[in-house]
């Protein structure tokens, strides 16, 4: 039973580690913070493994957890655990050396900061994580009926600020082929 649990978790971790760490890196100030968010997110997943959905719903579920962990970190509740010390160090050393392979241009990031937090969040999930409205709804605990118009409005507002559609020039697709699939209507 324990072996099965560990195996399940190993698979989950292997499949989504980069995505969760990427999610955290794009939303934190320092590499160490991203390591902490990643560690806490997977710790929640480990403890609540029976609650983790299967298949394509896994990643939005993990993003949903990461989002709550991140909110706690932002409130100053840092370092709940001391897990991932080596990851912190490695990440702190590696990240400053990276200059390309970013998900969007700086002007798009700057424009997004001028939007409301609510608009920003759906846009980030759409543009950075490549999520479709249904998956964004999963992450945020909302319905698609709410998310879709919100995303549509947020995109329009961003387009107004930039004078063009951000996806046209700014979005470098990241590695989530299974999540950038066309959404079933």
């Amino acid at each position: 039973m324990t072996d099965g649990r560990e195996e399940t978790f190993r698979r989950l971790y292997a499949a989504h580690f980069d995505a969760v760490l990427g999610f955290a890196l794009r939303r934190t100030e320092r590499p160490e913070d991203a390591a902490d968010v990643t560690a806490d997110t997977f710790l929640v997943a480990w403890r609540r493994l029976a609650h983790v959905p299967a298949g394509q719903e896994q990643r939005p579920w993990l993003y949903g957890v990461a989002r709550r962990v991140l909110a706690n970190h932002r409130r100053g509740d840092r370092r709940r655990t001391h897990l991932g010390e080596r990851l912190r160090r490695e990440l702190a050393a590696a990240v400053p050396d990276v200059s390309d392979g970013v998900v969007q241009r700086a002007d798009v990031t700057a424009a997004m900061r001028r939007l409301s937090a609510r608009d920003q969040e759906v846009l980030e999930l759409h543009l950075w994580e490549g999520l479709e409205p249904r998956e964004i709804a999963e992450v945020l605990g909302l319905t698609t009926v709410v998310v879709r118009p919100r995303l549509s409005r947020a995109r329009a507002r961003l387009r107004d600020l930039l004078g063009n559609d951000p996806e046209a020039g700014g979005h470098v697709p990241s590695r989530q082929p299974q999540l950038t699939r066309e959404e079933r209507p």
């Binding site: 890196l25 912190r88 990240v95 990276v98 698609t144």
Partner: protein, 344 residues
Amino acid sequence: MNPMLSDDTVAGLPLSLGRAELLEEIMSTPVLDDRPATTPPAGRSSRWLAPVAVAAAVALLVAVTAWWGSGYGPGGESGADGIASAPAPERDYRAILDAPGWTVENVYADSHGGELSYAKGEQSFEINWYPAASYDDYVEDRRHITDPPSDGEPVEVLDLDARMWAYSDTDHTAIREPAAGHWLEVRGGGMDRAAYLALLGELRLVDEQAFEAAMPATFVDGSERDAAIEEILAGIRRYVDPVIPPGSQRVGFSSDQNDPYHLGADVAGAVACEWLADFAEAHRAGDQRRMDRAAAALATARQWPVLQQMEADGDYPEAIYGYADEVAAGQVPEGYADGLGCEG
């Protein structure tokens, strides 16, 4: 700020030791909770699983321009009066927001519950109601808004105990204990705690009649619904007559939607489902004539007035057009029944 690295770039970072060590560290921690989930963790969206297709496809951007006027809709007042004088067992489970300046953005209701959302500038306020049976599961899910999980802050919503959690400083949600066979969740965004709590005090429980009366003028109430459905069908019948395939077992069309977009999706979707099922059956039987008939019917979808009216508000018409195109190419569209929310 960290650079906005793509996942590809993250995957290429030299983190193999740290990554492996973290995995082992996590798995060496005790397991606290291994009960299987009875609902998907993304709680609120779980009720959309059954009508998932409709929920997913029935996107809308209802350009509701009707305001509450002074903020006190006719239904709101009557509903409020009713509740104020009736502390005894509640019968009503739908709630509306009775506050100036808030506009109804969207309403959706089905047998699983309902959702009513409001906007005021950048602020949003959403009221959801669900059958009482799901209360425990949702509370358990919301407990995990905080880390470690918490029971939330006790508050009062419509004279009943409720628990409140903060997603952030400007995003709060509260779950009210079940009454009248239902429970409510109320979420406010773009406002601080004090403003959110103040709005909780502006909620009113209303009966069905008052609820409908409080909706904007563009919404279709129960007494108007049959006529609206007939009008939609008459529009389709100009291009497809009979509206459904000969031999179909369907007896009439119905919907419990108030919103013209959702109502249109229910009716036009049901018509499309009938023809798609007919095409699939003919395809299985190798009946080319029947296939052609179904394809011809679906090929007119772009002319159905109801779908044309819905185009500006969401993607549901596009979904039907896409299936029609596949049928025209001789293919049975994969997953169309889920995609459109076809019955049966």
